[in-house]
């Protein structure tokens, strides 16, 4: 079986869920090989997890140049690896960095690229939701191999334990690959909550939450459900919640199993980022709010009454 390369997303020794999803997808298409980029020593921490999800080869691309520069060294190493192993397909996460690596590889190899795919068949055809999920296209790369970025939460990851052989990869890069130095990396508050784009449940607050202080209620409900916290643009623009948690046309696109919208009217800007969620629940004072048009379950009411009661009720049922 030909290899399918999966570019691993990891942070602090933890493999991100989108990678497990990609390994699960790769198993349908061939023999999954994981490609791990990081500083020297980074690969050993993630190998077991990759093997658990079926990786039979782990390509270890470890160097200070890779860790200390933005994107470009990874693209060079990946393009060289693709040249060596001629994989059946190359999968990356449809994240900012995943797309950027893929874009550079596409130029280097003069190879077509599909982003934001939710499925990839053996014949190379992929499904892509476009225009905020209102249209789904079936697309394929017509020049080169299927080089695709996979949207997080597109499928359910399942383990399939394998024995992974680690192979060191040539990490030589060119002068143009080290033009952008990463001076420092800073983590911002998030705590133990799942990542927004990967979470199975997202609880979001909007203008109706009213203040940064009140967002604690959104966080409390989210933590109770093991959910990530999101916010509408109205909420982030008003300073209620940090911008990186914005869900919508100009923010993150999420597609969780359950999306709970609290005090969000459902303007098209917001719907664009969440309407492919499997189940949608909304709480809003305004019975005419457009969010109710797409909610599977809606409560017309004051979120400061409804949510605390829901929190109590969940606790009672456990």
């Amino acid at each position: 079986m030909s290899e399918v390369l999966v570019v691993v997303e990891h942070s602090g020794g933890v493999v991100k869920k989108v990678t497990l999803e990609m390994l699960t997808l790769a198993r349908e298409l061939g023999s999954p090989s994981a490609v791990v980029f990081g500083e020297p020593g980074a690969v050993a921490a993630v190998t077991d997890k990759l093997a658990e999800y079926g990786a039979t080869t782990v390509y270890a691309a470890e160097s200070d140049e890779i860790a200390g520069h933005l994107v470009a060294p990874k693209a060079t190493v990946l393009a060289n690896l693709i040249g060596q192993v001629s994989p059946a397909a190359v999968l990356l996460g449809s994240t900012q960095e995943g797309k950027e690596i893929a874009g550079r590889v596409a130029v280097k190899l003069d190879n077509g690229l599909l982003t934001d795919v939710v499925s990839l068949a053996a014949d190379g055809t992929a499904k892509q939701p476009i225009f905020a999920g209102s249209t789904v296209t079936t697309s394929k790369v017509t020049k080169g191999l299927p080089l695709v970025t996979v949207r997080p939460n597109s499928l359910t990851p399942s383990p399939a334990p394998a024995t992974a052989e680690t192979k060191a990869v040539d990490t030589t890069v060119g002068a143009n690959d080290t033009l952008v130095k990463v001076v420092s990396r800073a983590a911002e508050q998030k705590g133990s909550r799942p990542e927004l784009t990967e979470a199975s449940i997202v609880v979001s607050g909007g203008r109706g939450v009213g203040s940064a202080e009140n967002f604690k209620l959104v966080e409390e409900f989210a933590d109770l459900l093991g959910a990530a916290v999101g916010a509408s643009r109205a909420a982030t623009d008003s300073g209620f919640y940090p911008h990186q948690f914005q869900v919508g046309q100009t923010g993150k696109t999420v597609s969780p199993q359950l999306y709970i919208a609290l005090g969000i009217s459902g303007a098209i800007q917001h719907r664009a980022g969440m309407q492919t969620s499997k189940t949608i629940v909304a709480v809003n004072k305004d019975a005419e709010a457009p969010i109710f048009d797409l909610a599977d379950f809606g409560v017309v009411g004051d979120l400061f009454k409804v949510v605390p009661q829901a929190v109590d009720e969940v606790r009672k049922r456990r």
């Binding site: 599909l114 800073a186 098209i268």
Partner: protein, 259 residues
């Protein structure tokens, strides 16, 4: 500092957007077209840098004839001039083809700094800055929420999933920005009037030395085989809270096995 801002005209994301039924490309003719919102932040950032460090700001766009309206609108915010790459053969270009054309145009513009929005609201592909950097052999700092210019040294804060990264590079460089970086100015009446007479040069593929077969539908490296409208979501149960709304909500969550 010689700054070029990449601007794209896109179908308004607050209206219904569709693909053409004949070739599955974005239907731009029937759409209500606007400047890609994220690009306005790039224009604002360019103007701020010019105000502080001097120089010239050029708007560069590739698109059909209608894109000229968006270019004039961009100019009304304050840039000095614009370049519009216009050629029928560009219709249906993939990202790879688009980057080839933009890179060729950028080579003629000799920019110290190229600014772009982090993504367009139509394709949301997010690859253009890195594709251009790859072709031009220059630095790309993407997803910036803050940018500082000190002589030829650029420092940017890049928004990441976990927080942010501080990046540095020297010019020439391409930087893409998020909407958190600034607050774009509104065009003044004077700006709107002046925009009408600012230089707008039009370049064809021949001007750029690119063979039409390498771009557009003819040179596309991917294709849409089929497109289907997704059924609209339909409203489910809606209850009005009369004291038991929270309980009803949890009952629903329990029935769906989320609790």
């Amino acid at each position: 500092m010689n700054i070029v801002v990449l601007v794209k005209q896109v179908p308004d994301s607050s209206t219904e957007r569709v693909l053409r039924t004949d070739d599955n490309t974005v239907d731009r003719a029937s759409a209500s077209n606007v400047i890609n919102e994220m690009d306005e932040y790039a224009i604002e950032e360019a103007l701020k840098i010019k105000e502080e460090h001097g120089g010239e700001v050029t708007v560069l766009t590739m698109g059909p004839a209608s894109a000229a309206e968006s270019v004039r609108k961009a100019l009304s915010m304050g840039p000095d001039r614009a370049v519009h790459i216009l050629d029928d053969a560009l219709h249906g270009s993939c990202a790879l083809g688009t980057s080839k054309v933009l890179a060729a145009a950028l080579r003629t513009l000799d920019a110290d700094l190229i600014l772009a929005g982090s993504e367009s609201t139509d394709g949301r592909v997010q690859v253009m800055p890195h594709m251009l950097a790859e072709r031009l052999g220059i630095a790309a700092m993407t997803g910036a929420r803050k940018l500082t210019v000190d002589g030829s040294t650029l420092t940017a804060e890049r928004q990441t999933e976990e927080g942010y990264e501080v990046l540095t590079a020297s010019t020439p460089a391409i930087v893409s920005v998020w909407d958190t970086i600034n607050e774009p100015r509104y065009p003044s009446f004077k700006g709107i009037m002046q925009a009408k007479s600012k230089p707008l040069s039009v370049l064809s593929l021949a001007d750029l030395g690119i063979d039409p077969s390498e771009v557009g539908t003819a040179g596309a490296t991917s294709e849409v085989v089929e497109a289907a409208k997704r059924p609209m979501r339909t409203a489910g149960t809606k209850v009005t809270d009369s004291g038991e709304g929270g309980v009803a909500l949890v009952e629903f969550l329990t029935s769906e096995k989320f609790v």
